[in-house]
Symmetry: C2
Subunit: 320 residues, 2 copies
């Protein structure tokens, strides 16, 4: 298949682009490099630099079998301070993409949705049938796009899949997390191990969990990439399928920090700070639907392995 | 207060504009007349004809205390066939409005949301805490706007209210329902009484309800207008409050038709057709929150009175 990967110069997008190439697909990456890195675009992919809202019609006019849409603004804190950037940058852009797919008859779409569409969970692990009450603007914009995709899939026969990620981590060779503004736990902890940061902050140790710190579901970025490959290969015209992607096992903030200490051999000082508003105590996915319907099977669920891959990438980058 | 009423040439918007004028507020109506009628704009309101996406910045620049945002595409069937019209026409337009309110510091917003944001109800009567799983594009676009309003209210201190209407009916003097494409039960039944339509269709009489036809909650348009007045007068900066508006009492399609027969004296032939996809059996509001927090008290909950006002309006229009 000939596939367009938007945001393919970012962390998850570039790993997925590499995985699609390995599987024998033709890949074009579209990215405005506002947060991505040109050198993350995998060899073998054609790279187009541009803003989706401006160029998507022109790009899709050359004919594609599908789009994997990763491009997005994705900082939760920023989304609360500057919601217009997210409603315009994420939702408006997605509407332009969907309109262009309709116009050019692009048959398939895989969208990067998020666990943040659910908000505070009423049941754990979280199934896809759970209520969607996002507690931040980032999650609300992703939910609006999920709903828009349902509309377009039904009306125009698009074969669509939304994948709702829980916490993505790990690395794939030379491709890993390197955000200008890093907000994710594992890369932040590893920055302490590298001496770039004095300590790691733990936001609350009085949560109703076993050790009092928040519990999250970590998924290896290559397992995530496998799910995208399965989604684009198995989706059905006119249907919009939604799958949670996680391992179904939660690790606490303290467990993750301990794992990082073991992997890096660094003491990694931790400082307890107050809880952050909007943080749920536990976020763990039920990925039963992805296992059953997509045939997806995460192969790197081990948290030590996830941290080890992230650490190898981080050290290499640091040395580079 | 100086208030902007978008969609103020439409059915609900024009009745609300009239009610705001009676309460002593200054009213400017902005409407593109794509579905509204210039002669529905109440005397005493200044009328600006234009498209929100084009002119909202210029209009709000003159300084307003608040916006009542009624302008929208609102045909459920059309929304399923042509979703782009709804995602662009409703959601993009609302984002432009919110951006302009932020830019010009407009402090208050009241938004016409809908019971369609809930979709198939899990409990009846429906409270505002119910899950929001819209089953049609119209409802999904209104939900996206509700979420966008929450974002902007929190970030920029806007005093915002979303009112989720159930079935609005009745008339207010010379202002009533006259849609080019009529999809609402009471006006359709009254068209049969006027001889403009041979019969009324009943979509399914095998629903799990007392008489087998769908049950809906009807609210008089003047009661609805009162709720808007209360909302704009009591809202609080930085908060986005959401209220269901209905009478908490359901009437079946057959009960509504029988009431129309009594009021008009016309036999009104009815024909049973298959169920329509996406129609829930029962949609009834819990409006407890509006009663408690807004101090709202519907005064025309009687279905016969609602039909009588609609009939008086319809006959007068017909004669005009």
């Amino acid at each position: 298949m000939k596939l367009l990967v938007t945001g393919g110069a970012g962390y998850v997008g570039s790993v997925c682009a590499a995985r699609l190439l390995e599987a024998g697909h033709e890949v074009v990456v579209l990215d405005d490099l506002s947060t991505g890195h040109a050198d993350a675009v995998p060899a073998g992919a054609r790279f187009v630099q541009g803003d989706i809202a401006d160029v998507i019609g022109e790009v899709l006019a050359e004919g594609f079998d599908g789009v994997l849409h990763f491009a997005a603004k994705s900082l939760v804190g920023e989304s609360m301070q500057d919601p217009g950037k997210y409603w315009t940058g994420n939702v408006l852009t997605a509407i332009r993409l969907l309109d262009a797919m309709k116009e050019h008859g692009t048959p398939k779409l895989v969208f990067s949705s998020t666990a943040a569409t659910y908000g505070e969970p009423r049941e754990v692990p979280i199934p896809e049938t759970a209520p969607t009450h996002p507690t931040n603007t980032y999650g609300a914009t992703k939910l609006a796009i999920d709903h828009a995709i349902t509309s377009y899939a039904q009306a125009f026969g698009i074969a669509a899949t939304s994948l709702r990620y829980f916490n993505v981590a790990g690395a794939y060779g030379h491709i890993g997390e390197r955000h200008a503004v890093e907000t994710h736990l594992i890369p932040l902890v590893l920055q302490v191990a590298l001496g770039q940061r004095e300590h790691i902050q733990i936001f609350g140790e009085d949560w109703p969990t076993e050790d009092g710190t928040c519990v999250r579901d970590y998924i290896h970025v290559t397992d995530l990439a496998d799910a995208h490959l399965l989604a684009v290969e198995t989706s059905v015209a006119g249907e919009h399928r939604i799958y949670n992607l996680g391992n179904g096992t939660g690790f606490s903030v303290k467990q993750v920090i301990d794992t990082c200490r073991e992997v890096t051999g660094h003491p990694i000082p931790a400082v307890v700070a107050p809880r952050r508003a909007g943080d749920p105590a536990v976020l763990v996915a039920s990925a039963e639907r992805a296992r059953t319907e997509l045939g997806w099977k995460p192969e790197r669920a081990d948290i030590a392995g996830i941290v080890r891959d992230a650490w190898e990438f981080t050290k290499t980058r640091q040395g580079a």
